[in-house]
Symmetry: C3
Subunit: 346 residues, 3 copies
């Protein structure tokens, strides 16, 4: 699965400066501590200086201003993490994408579906009526595409992914196992003390270069579409309700959820376990801390948070009781201030 | 997939008053803003008055008291949202339910299972021993029914749904992809510093007209059953622990969870990301706001909430530190009040 | 599915004291309230004393010091819950594990995979290249093992479980439907205003006697491995990020999440819906209450909690506003104290 390059080759390929012996052979990436001969590692955080000193890696990716700390052959970059990622991608290509093209015997492909010659349709997957699967796409084992799904070039559905009818997946998407795209939004009307279903008639449209984590659920729109723009990265077990839009290059960490019709801007960073109410707007470049609850729109980019501190349980119980008295406390405080003012005047 | 009616047909079918030209043809529903000719839309919120004015929809569902705002042919209802839902259901029937009946070649159906002639068993699904699948049921691609599962008439399991042994699904259920019904409850006994499994021997019993979202997990009971009563609607990624009961027509939004043996009443509304502890009771008609934590039973119906406000991170950090001092602050406040009283007496 | 023993047989098998008629036949377990003849139940909590009195169970598991409350034949144990669990396991063995060994016709097993003769590979499952499945393993319907997965003896993958490449599952694991082991960790580098993927090259290593709930997602390590040690029990819909380690016999309840590189100690108890930030350490024996947020390492074992109380919504709104004034209130309080001191001095 891995390939071999000299360090000079890598320097040339990525147009970066080489320091030291360019003839060393590199066949894999590793972290500093566990690296073996033949690997390249990276150094960013001075905290790991002793690991840099002792590493058995054959080379290191490092920034100019830290180069003096390093006695190994090195590739110099002002963004070592990104260069390391690119080298790792070169040395360790995704083996799923390199399987032989074609449709596995046990896959069930509807005769009306169009599968590109270079696509891989793995065992026990199901491709529904009028689906279109473009070049170099990987539909993993157990995946289900219902009616008229479109998956664009070089996208990967890992395994047991479900894409519901009419949804569109852009190019180079990576969708992890158990994700569900296009399930019905949660829409009901109340009649005669019961809930009746409001059919969910929109779809989900996913842009290019989107990554979607394991167990994510993205609901189809009610009448319009749910939209995930280019470059969005979603971690595991995220819930996206109907009619939501997530702007370009926004990242969301695991277990966060967005309620219906909310619009998240571009370049936002939503940390883990964040909840965002429906019908809101978040400005481009907004950051939300982990575990926060977002009950109102955010028009001013910045870092926002909610939530109380972790405490030993005895202390937590006491402060918790006081929380209920907070309004009362504030009013008492005002009374006292008034009294003191009166005393002053006397 | 869509059908064609005149507006008069629809007025007659749903026994509502027609205003304007009954001859207009209606073949689909749409929202006001993006509607095209041939569609019917609905109007409830005065906020969208300009959309109503400019809509290209051929007709609108509207209430009597807003009729004066509308220059389009209209159907008049005192519950426009419900009527719109019913018309949408008529015009856009679920195409999965209209597929040809029968068992797909790639489905694995145990010879002891009973599948009704009118049921649809889709590609690469698995039906276990002694299962019973009733009339008009749709078992979608990749779904798994383990031993002795019963699925009653006209229910739909969308795709990649798992129903574990002995569970019962009522009539007209809709279960979205990735949902799991009847996984083992989380029960262990502590012995010799280890955890040993307590076998989970109950089942899950799901009533009629229940909808279950993508990635929902409903655990089987330990010794009794977990019960989801008629008309309950569960959004995506909800967790229901063993022995829980959810009363009729209760709705729960995404990512909420209920711990073991809790009983939720009828007609409750649990918003998203709510956590409810175990062995509690929630009265009929209780509403819980999004992101709330429910640590005790609620005997009085009403609206309940917990959680702190969202703040810019600098302010949040300050208030967070103060939260830990809350009990101390409350005690200081009392001291001060006493001192002031003493001063007054002087 | 159930077997028959006399109460004497059970007393002998588990080396516990028998009180009363040893000839009664026991074929199943039940709870006190709904037990029928032929069943054995257990009694721990005095709250259920009247159920003990009225039960139709043929026998009861009970501790020495409560024996006087019981008029039924009994097995005496100082750990009745554990003994009950062991009897339940004996009487109600997992029927999946007792199916006929072999590979179902519809399973897709790569020719390079090694499947033990005694293993069960169920319908429409997929076993990838160079996988090794050991003796007595059950690979349920719709499960997918990608390349080079190892599943050790007597483990069970219930249904629709996905194990990604190179991951290792220990002996006697139980993995519930929809769980995903070894999906990519959430790792990206920022370059030219976009996120580029950092390949996730570690794996997931799962010890012996681990149970993993429905819809759980455990990400593979970035460069090292994600490690779940022996005896860990994970409830439904838990998220474990890359490079996390969970120590032996730790239990985690549903919907909790752990961010990247955090190390959880042994014998911890993490309740439901808990969020734990990345790069932290939790001491052995730490307990975290439900719904808590853990933003810092815990070096001292104990019980920790965060979160505010549930309140009627009107009261919640008031206190919520005051929360934002908390720092201001604390400073006012200090001012007042100073003023009062000055008054005292006068």
């Amino acid at each position: 699965m891995s390939r071999r390059y000299t360090l000079s080759d890598l320097a040339e390929l990525f147009s970066v400066r080489l320091v030291g012996d360019g003839a060393v052979e590199i066949s894999c990436v590793a972290d500093l501590e566990f690296a073996e001969k033949g690997s390249i590692s990276f150094f960013i955080d001075k905290k790991f200086q002793s690991q840099l000193k002792n590493t058995r890696a054959s080379a290191v990716v490092i920034s100019e201003n830290k180069l003096s700390l390093c006695s190994k052959p090195a590739l110099v970059s002002d963004n070592p993490h990104a260069l390391f990622a690119e080298i790792a991608t070169l040395l360790h290509p995704d083996e799923d994408m390199e399987e032989d093209a074609g449709i596995h015997d046990t896959a069930a492909v509807d005769p009306t579906a169009t599968i590109h010659d270079t696509a891989i349709v793995a065992a026990n997957s199901v491709i529904g009526a009028y689906c279109v699967v473009d070049e170099g796409v990987y539909i993993g084992p157990g995946c289900v595409l219902k009616q008229r799904v479109r998956v664009k070039a070089h996208s990967k559905l890992s395994a047991n992914v479900t894409i519901c009818k009419d949804c569109k997946i852009g190019e180079r998407a990576i969708i992890h196992p158990g994700a569900v795209i296009g399930s019905d939004g949660f829409g009901f009307a109340h009649k005669d003390s019961k809930w009746i279903k409001v059919p969910q008639l929109g779809t989900v449209v996913i842009g290019d270069d989107v990554e979607i984590g394991a167990g994510v659920a993205i609901d189809r729109g009610a009448l319009r579409d749910t939209v995930i723009e280019n470059g969005v990265k979603l971690d595991n077990q995220i819930h996206i309700a109907h009619n939501v839009t997530i702007g370009e290059n926004t990242v969301m960490a695991a277990q966060s959820g967005i309620a219906g019709s909310t619009r998240i801007g571009k370049d936002c960073a939503i940390a883990g376990a964040v909840g965002i109410l429906g019908h809101l707007e978040l400005a481009d470049g907004t950051t939300i801390n982990a575990f926060s609850e977002v009950p109102q729109s955010i028009m001013e980019p910045g870092i926002y948070a909610s939530g109380t501190p972790l405490e030993p349980v005895a202390q937590w119980r006491k402060n918790r009781v006081r929380y209920k008295q907070l309004d009362e406390m504030a009013r008492k405080l005002k009374d006292i201030e008034r009294k003191l003012e009166n005393l002053d005047k006397k």
